[in-house]
């Protein structure tokens, strides 16, 4: 029988707890609110400190889907992906995702260029279709996001949603809107622990409390820089537990987004017979990235394939048993 290692010292700080979603009494409309963060130890090391909240899976839902998605994924999402409201509902009720991550790709000026009002309308519809918290992501075009997201922020005031992403070059408008309307923010940095911290400082300098920031450290899928992401997250979490409050935020990892653009998840079996069944391969590629990110300290995983979500959800339940 292996000898138990004796714990000689404890980490000095816990990760900030971030609450997502607000109930009716709190000024929102959610039946369920969720909390991430609060860790006093590295992932799943229950004997070293408190790990009060299980990691969450947010189902990726898009207002407009990319025609470029692999066939097997499209087939598995068929029937819902043309209707984001139904898509969100299914992912919560049937697939049992913890929350929804709605990306407003359709607002991009190079794409459908949907107006703010339409995007806002969709967010409201999704909010009424599901009773769980929501993550709202802009299209990534700074001027357009600065136009659209504040409108949604105001319209959903009090719901305590998670808005994203702010980056070093564009953080002021969305941060100000979230401060005013009581939302939290996803702060994105390019696989760089220094920039992650710098952005947190900038955002908190504007007046956003530290427990309303979630770090998007930027990840790569398996084979595309996963290990870089892992080491940056490990470093940031180590600094957080050692007392750096400017890095002590939960992580959100965009697993689905990164996985489904890899060659390995996309190439049909006909093109590469040696790689085996395309559907299974894509699912497993997403699962493997998600599992690695859990070990790196991810608090929220955004995922795309229903089957991958089910597998990882089960794994989290098992891991949380300690």
């Amino acid at each position: 029988m292996a000898e138990e290692l004796r714990l000689v010292s404890h980490w000095s700080q816990r990760v900030h707890e971030v609450r997502i979603g607000a109930t009716k009494q709190e000024g929102g409309s959610r039946a369920v609110t969720l909390t991430v963060g609060g860790q006093g130890a590295l992932p799943f090391l229950f004997k070293e400190g408190a790990l009060p909240h299980p990691p969450l899976i947010a189902a990726e839902v898009f207002d407009v889907i990319d025609e470029d998605w692999p066939e097997t994924l499209c087939r598995d999402l068929d029937g819902m992906s043309r209707d984001p409201v139904r898509w969100a509902g299914t992912m919560i009720k049937d697939v049992q995702a913890d929350l929804v991550c709605l990306k407003l790709s359709g607002t991009h000026p190079d794409g459908a260029d949907k107006p703010a009002a339409e995007a806002c309308d969709l967010v409201k519809k999704v909010l009424s279709a599901v009773d769980r918290p929501l993550i709202v992501l802009g299209c990534g075009d700074a001027p357009k996001d600065n136009e659209v997201l504040p409108v949604i922020s105001e319209a959903t005031k009090g719901e305590r949603l998670l808005f994203g992403d702010v980056v070093q070059e564009n953080y002021k408008t969305l941060t100000a809107a979230c401060i005013a309307d009581g939302h939290s923010i996803v702060a994105e940095s390019p696989i760089d622990v220094n920039i992650a911290k710098q952005l947190n400082i900038l955002v908190s300098d504007l007046g956003l409390p530290l427990d309303r920031i979630v770090i998007n450290p930027t990840i790569g899928a398996l084979g595309y820089g996963l290990e870089y992401a892992y080491s940056i997250m490990e470093r940031a979490r180590g600094a957080a537990l050692s007392g750096d409050k400017m890095l002590a935020m939960p992580f959100i990892c965009f697993v689905g987004q990164e996985t489904w653009r890899t060659k390995e998840a996309r190439v049909p079996e006909s093109d590469s017979p040696g790689w085996g069944d395309a559907r299974e391969r894509g699912i497993m590629w997403e699962v493997v990235a998600a599992m690695a990110m859990l070990q790196a300290g991810a608090d929220i995983l955004t995922m795309r394939h229903p089957q991958a979500i089910r597998i990882v959800k089960h794994a989290i339940t098992e891991l949380m048993k300690g």
């Binding site: 070093q168 408008t173 401060i179 005013a180 309307d181 760089d192 920039i195 911290k197 400082i201």
Partner: protein, 660 residues
């Protein structure tokens, strides 16, 4: 024949060149120096000229606006002459060759070791750390005439007399001296003055002159910087400083940084041109100094130069190309036993040239000289020397050990590559205060002149003030949400107007742009991260350091408070900082004044360990962490607090309300 005549206005200088010569070269042939930071690559846009008449072939450049092109604007370096032509040179394109003003020089030279080292002032007490015993001495000797009892040869007779003065040391002399010696001794009735130069462990008889001229022994001291050259005439008999002058390094015509110049040296005649550019400056300065002090050039027996390794290579016309190639090995660090004439210096033809030895390709003799003059090498306590320039050099240590590193900061602190940047010349804004509410700017300029631009110390003050006023965020971006007539969109990103052109009758507003802030941030991060990494590499903390010496062209007028607030230098009690101004010149002077100092300095150069930052993986991380104001790790700057950013104005549809 394919010759054409180019006439330059307003000088009305004409020059005959081959068809197809570019205007930058043609101007140089006419002895007109144009600004050219990029060395003629068409990148910097500083050599703008107007072609009035004649045919030229010009490559299109984004540096010339269409409306300017219509009135004949061209980049001189990208424009080839095809026929006789007339070219007008606007004042801003001309390299400012004027000798620095007195105030400016006093400012540059102000430091603890040369408190009142003024251009015009002569006698100056020098630190008495080393016995005064110059590297070149003159001895008047009255020799006994030979007879049948004393049949020593003429040379041995002279050597015997000299050795009585300086001890039993090896002595050499040249053939030219020997050929004249017999006649000289006899016509001067055996009374001669011997000039003896220390060359390593041996000595050389440089010259033998009739009668007593031993009172007239002078030397020159030069600090050859990438941007500025400072020279001093000293009396080696009386231990006095007779005069000091500073001017720009004319090599700037061929590129503003070392690497560009090394590359230029590979071009045909490139090395030759670079060599002449610097030698000409030294010779002109020598002539001006000797004229003013009424010193005969023949009585100037030696020169001592300190400069970075590349500058010394170029002065000696040694190919510098290996300095920029891995593993960065120079041709020589220790260069001794040279004659000034070999390098083209016009002093006494037998005069000696001393180069303060360097440490490595990127830590040169200017740093060894700095360590000598600041006394790091004999301090019991830990001390640090930071020489801030285009290259930042850092030396850490004490009497027992010394370690150095070099970081490429870029020329931002010297005003290069900045929209309204200016070197520390007359009219450069060097001190700035910004009203936190109205954002009104008050400033001081060098020499009290009309402002022409901002120099390094001006930028440091300005950035600190704008951080304090919430106009610049910690990331170094101008706050677009602040409303002020001084904040506006510019060519690239936003800009903050420091001085409106119409208020002072300038051609353009003096501004600080987002791009300038980026350059500034990179420069300060390079210096700070090098300092920080060097200290960490030795397993020490900044608190362990007793004194920090700041040297460099702008160090003299540096506001310590601002330098700390921007994160350029560590947040330590301000009294730990000591400004030494031009420590390189002071060190070179000590070198020349004392054989012991020279010996000590040679040891310093040999003993300094060079720490290569570029191969250290931690440097990039340190650098990224320093790319923030004052630093990503705020615990390193506990005394720095900026005023809180009030945040942006929310779009009108979204009036800010209290948070939940």
């Amino acid at each position: 024949m394919n010759k054409v005549v180019v006439t330059f206005l307003p000088d009305d200088k004409k020059v005959v060149v081959e068809k197809g010569t570019n205007l930058l070269s043609a101007a140089l042939s006419a002895h007109i120096h144009l600004n050219s930071s990029c060395g003629g690559d068409g990148v910097c846009g500083k050599c703008r000229v107007f072609v009035k008449t004649g045919a030229v072939h010009a490559e299109p450049s984004g540096r010339i606006r269409p409306e300017e092109r219509r009135i004949g604007a061209h980049l001189a370096c990208q424009t080839l002459v095809e026929s006789d032509c007339v070219v007008e040179i606007p004042p801003e394109s001309r390299l400012d060759m004027s000798v620095l003003s007195k105030e400016e020089l006093a400012l540059r030279l102000r430091g603890i070791y040369a408190p009142s080292e003024d251009v015009q002032e002569a006698a100056r007490p020098v630190r008495e750390d080393f016995a005064f015993q110059p590297l070149v001495e003159k001895f008047y000797i009255q020799l006994p005439a030979p007879d049948f009892n004393d049949k020593l040869s003429d040379l041995e007779r002279v050597e015997r007399a000299v050795q009585e003065k300086i001890g039993d040391v090896p002595l050499h002399t040249g053939l030219a001296n020997l050929r004249r010696l017999g006649e000289l001794l006899r016509t001067s009735s055996w009374n001669v003055t011997v000039t003896v130069a220390a060359k390593g462990p041996a000595f050389e008889i440089l010259a033998i002159e009739p009668q007593d001229t031993s009172e007239k022994n002078f030397g020159l001291v030069f600090d050859i910087g990438t941007t500025t050259i400072t020279g001093q005439l000293v009396d080696l008999k009386k231990k006095e400083i007779l005069g000091t002058k500073a001017t720009y390094n004319r090599q700037a015509t061929f590129g503003s940084d070392i690497i560009t110049r090394i590359i230029y040296a590979q071009a045909p005649d490139g090395l030759e041109k670079l060599h002449h550019a610097v030698v000409d400056v030294l010779n002109e300065m020598t002539e001006a100094l000797t004229d003013e002090c009424r010193v005969d050039l023949n009585d100037v027996t030696c020169a001592c130069v300190a400069g970075n390794t590349t500058m010394i290579h170029l002065l000696l016309r040694i190919d510098p190309s290996h300095i920029r190639k891995e593993p960065y090995v120079p041709t020589a660090n220790f260069i001794s036993g040279l004659k000034a004439a070999e390098a083209g210096l016009k002093i006494n033809p037998h005069g000696a040239l001393y180069c303060v030895p360097g440490v490595s390709s990127y830590v040169g003799g200017d740093i060894s000289a700095g360590v000598l003059s600041c006394g790091l090498f004999r301090s019991a306590d830990l001390q640090l020397l930071i020489d801030i320039g285009t290259n930042g050099e850092i030396v850490l240590g004490n009497a027992e050990w010394l370690i150095s590193c070099a970081a490429s900061a870029g020329p931002a602190f010297e005003g290069s590559g900045m929209k309204s940047g200016l070197r520390a010349v007359k009219g450069a804004i060097q001190g700035v205060s910004v009203d936190r509410k109205s954002l009104d700017v008050t400033y001081t300029t060098i020499g009290g002149d009309t402002p022409r631009g901002l120099c390094g110390s001006g930028y440091i003050d300005l950035v600190t003030q704008l951080l304090g006023a919430g106009v610049v965020d910690k990331n170094g971006k101008l706050n677009r949400n602040k409303t002020s007539k001084r904040l506006r969109p510019g060519d690239a990103g936003y800009e903050f107007v420091v001085v409106f052109a119409d208020e002072k009758g300038l051609a353009e507003d003096i501004v600080l742009t987002d791009a300038d802030l980026d350059n500034f941030k990179r420069a300060k991060a390079a210096i700070y991260s090098a300092v920080s990494l060097l200290i960490r590499h030795m397993g020490l903390s900044v608190q362990d350091i007793r004194n920090i010496f700041i040297a460099g062209g702008f160090g003299t007028s540096l506001n310590v408070e601002s330098a700390v607030a921007t994160g350029l230098i560590p947040d330590l009690p301000r009294d730990k900082y000591v400004f030494v101004g031009n420590s390189s010149l002071a060190g070179a002077r000590e070198y020349l004044f004392s054989r012991r100092a020279a010996g000590a300095c040679d040891k310093i150069a040999a003993n300094i360990t060079y720490f290569e930052l570029s191969t250290d993986a931690a440097y990039m991380d340190e650098y990224m962490a320093a790319l923030f104001f004052p630093h990503t790790d705020m615990t390193r700057f506990p005394s720095v607090k900026y005023e809180k950013d009030e945040g942006p104005v929310i779009p009108s549809a979204l009036k800010p309300r209290p948070c939940l």
